[in-house]
């Protein structure tokens, strides 16, 4: 399968196979007016299978969302058809309005205007908890 290379833009590589579409939605890439390609189940020596997203524009990516959703991805910045920067992603210490608390006993269940804030409480196991009720985020 052939997909055009991009001249100026971003390649999100090493996405866990099957999660490409979820990342596309979380990053709200459907709102862009440039070309975006989601390539699924690509052969990878490192991962076996992986997904890739190519964005044909140099946009501000929300690294926190990316870090939370799939922290093993790499982000390649392309300029004039050449790879100029390779960024690795860290788990963000806190996420606001990225994940939403589903605990019906949480104050966020009744107060609609409160931001949903989750904090990284266990780095090793990548666990985020709601700052209000401490409910664990489920991916």
């Amino acid at each position: 399968m052939k997909i055009d290379s991009i001249k100026n833009g971003i390649v999100i590589d090493h996405i866990t196979a099957g999660r490409g579409l979820e990342l596309y939605q979380l990053l709200k890439l459907d709102r862009l007016d440039c070309s975006v390609a989601i390539i699924q189940n690509v052969h990878s020596n490192k991962m076996g299978r992986k997904d890739i997203i190519k964005i044909d524009a140099d946009i501000d990516l929300d690294m926190d969302i990316l870090g939370y959703a799939d922290p093993d991805v790499t982000v390649d910045i392309i300029k004039d058809s050449a790879l100029v920067e390779k960024r690795s992603i860290d788990l963000p210490p806190q996420l606001t309005n990225v994940i939403f608390c589903k605990n019906p006993r949480c104050i966020t269940a009744t107060e609609q205007e409160l931001p949903h804030v989750f904090r990284l409480t266990d780095l090793e196991n990548r666990i985020y908890r709601c700052i209000y009720c401490e409910t664990k985020a489920n991916k």
């Binding site: 006993r105 104050i107 107060e111 205007e113 700052i131 209000y132 009720c133 664990k136």
Partner: protein
């Protein structure tokens, strides 16, 4: 100490300081009688409570301060749909310190994020109840002379029992303590509490459904009520509510130096016959709660006596 939302915000040094201050209040109450003169405590209780609200109010009065009180959600602006954040901002204009109880988990944290005066969590749903833990710690200290090297049995609703989670978290930070978790299968301690507080820190614990079998090895027995308000399903509540009932007969197997605590109110999990047993200290625990709240108010208002 700006706010107290979770007992773990207090270091063991701060807990020790509060215990020492409470001991001094007990020994010399007259010294503190005017210490909060012209200060006002607002007790915002959006969920029914007798002892906690009265304990806070008694604590403030005994320090010479005054109290502004909301005793149910339906009699406040919350009934008109006011947010917790707005309530906290408004009450900050009237009071020097706020104690808040709310049925929703995290509501006191929202209040603390918006208030300009210190906020004490007086219980948020099934989540945290740090001042109950302060009462528990002072009681253990006064009964045992230490809060280290103890075998602590916790019995009843260990799943939804917020006082249980906070007490385990607080006591696990002191050396030499071990826990015996006694509950029906459906009300076992949540796995994240076990993992985060006990397993990860190699704190010894055992789990059992057998109260009588566990009794002889305990220094402390912390009984809890199965709380109707924590269940979405009435059938589950009715099936589990009488899982454990402590009676004088069962206590025959317990150590002579056992201390029996209960955060109260009790329903029938401790028979009234146990009250006369010198090992039953749950009403002393109520009194200790008032002293610890006095100590906490003094610390949070930064009043030097």
């Amino acid at each position: 100490m700006k706010n107290l939302i979770d007992i773990l915000e207090l270091s063991t040094e701060e807990l020790d300081e509060l215990i020492a201050l409470a001991e001094d209040i007990i020994a010399r109450p007259e010294k503190y009688r005017e210490s909060c003169r012209y200060k006002k405590l607002a007790t915002l209780f959006f969920e029914p409570s007798t002892r906690t609200r009265l304990s806070f109010e008694a604590a403030m009065y005994e320090l010479g301060g005054q109290v502004l009180s909301v005793s149910s959600g339906s009699s406040s602006s919350a009934a008109k749909g006011e947010s917790v954040a707005d309530t906290a901002k408004t009450v900050s204009c009237y009071a020097d310190i706020i104690a808040m109880r709310h049925p929703k988990e995290g509501a006191p944290l929202v209040a603390a994020m918006n208030a300009t005066v210190p906020v004490i969590n007086a219980g948020d749903g099934g989540h945290n109840h740090p001042t109950q833990t302060l009462a528990d710690l002072l009681t253990i200290w006064r009964e045992k002379g230490r809060i280290t090297g103890l075998t602590i049995g916790l019995c009843g609703d260990l799943k939804f029992g917020r006082t249980v989670h906070s007490l385990i978290a607080a006591m696990a930070r002191y050396p030499g303590n071990r826990f015996v978790l006694i509950s029906p299968e459906e009300l076992k301690l949540p796995s994240y509490v076990k993992k985060d507080v006990l397993k990860n820190r190699n704190i010894p614990y055992t789990q059992t459904t057998d109260l009588e079998g566990a009794l002889p090895e305990l220094d402390i027995l912390y009984m809890t009520r199965v709380q109707r308000e924590r269940f979405f399903n009435e059938e589950d509540y009715l099936r589990l509510k009488d899982s454990y009932i402590l009676t004088p007969e069962k206590l025959e197997k317990a150590s002579k130096t056992l201390s029996i605590l209960h955060p109260l109110p009790r329903v029938n999990e401790i028979s009234v016959g146990v009250d006369a047993d010198p090992r039953a200290v749950y009403f002393k625990q109520v009194l200790n709660g008032k002293y610890m709240r006095m100590a906490l108010i003094l610390k949070m208002l930064e009043v030097e006596v």
